[in-house]
Symmetry: C2
Amino acid sequence: MQTYAAPRIALSPSSTQSSLLEAFDAPPLQPVSFFPAGSEIYAQGEKAGAFYQVEFGAVRVYRLLADGRRQISAFHLAGETFGFEADTTHHINATGVRVFRFATGADISRQLLPLALKGLTRAQEHLLVLGRQNAIERVAAFLVDMAERQGGLRQVELPMSRMDIGDYLGLTIETVSRVFTRLKDKGVIRLPSLRSIEIVKHDTLHNMSE
Amino acid sequence: MQTYAAPRIALSPSSTQSSLLEAFDAPPLQPVSFFPAGSEIYAQGEKAGAFYQVEFGAVRVYRLLADGRRQISAFHLAGETFGFEADTTHHINATGVRVFRFATGADISRQLLPLALKGLTRAQEHLLVLGRQNAIERVAAFLVDMAERQGGLRQVELPMSRMDIGDYLGLTIETVSRVFTRLKDKGVIRLPSLRSIEIVKHDTLHNMSE
DNA sequence: CGTTGACTTGAAGGTATTCAAGCTTTGTGG
DNA sequence: CCACAAAGCTTGAATACCTTCAAGTCAACG
């Protein structure tokens, strides 16, 4: 199985972080362990019953077909919290994740349910993108989502490669690259560097993602 | 918004039903109400905190784009149980659903969590299909899934239209139809009627879905 | 400064969509 | 029960979009 070692890019905490954490009603947490870049979290023996906070970079949750085709079902960005997803056919690949455990096993489900529901809602929106939107719409939706999760600023950091983006959007890296170029030529975005984009025409981008 | 009134097709209870229900450890349930064909469940004022059992036919969970494009994120078949998914941008369309409510609001999350996790796992598998598999593979995966959920028999009933299948698999109805024809011509399946298929070469179908 | 990996760009090809027509099934009224 | 209408499904031809294959550029790193 291929392992992707993503570069460590420090991100500012996203806006969704605090609200998600607040939703937990201050559970008793203990930091337990830290996973360096490229870690296969569950491959290292971790099971459900823990949940995680991303310290920097990003976490990819993905599935593979027998021939190696990969679909990333979710990214978790720096500052965000996620949990469960325990499943042997299911992989999580991290760059800098700190693990918290629940002090008691009693009300784990009360803690995990909002995360599960959030994940389910996102997955349903993602299905709409993959099933019914074309390449430009997919990339636009991705950028809008990334921007929102980073506080809605003009400047958006992409803590993942073009290949990751392609595997998230169900596109090839070439198509992702071409769409970036098209958006740049239209003046919708700027590309100061490979891993950062600047959203110039926010409304246009938003309309593109429908 | 378009409403699809699916025909009422009685299905034998699927194999996954009992295991899901058993997982609930016999919660105190009360049947509350019944939704006829074409009901928009949440459009009728139902909120989360209840869960549902499909009596016959099927339930579609879907999202719409502004221009009407639709993506069905899940089918729930006769005998199966589902819950939550409360969300205004999110629609559920039913043909014959009985609603159960939890007697107490206390341990709702303990009851809902396994359902949420099941839904999340299925959504992730669905994302892999939509993002990385071609038309034949998608239809094959769909048929294999339907067969398994109906007890693994050769004969599979499809309690939904070609349009529903297309909107579930991210394909047009024409493509769905063409793939059915191709599978029939290859001798992999038979089509005794529009809404029922017979799986002749089970292994071939399974390999196609990867 | 050269090498490596990641990304971009171009051209050709393939797969699914679109548009259109014909067919089949289902439902309805005579 | 039959005839017709309407809806759903199938089939065909042309088109569009994305992929594949290939070459070239850029950036990071030793």
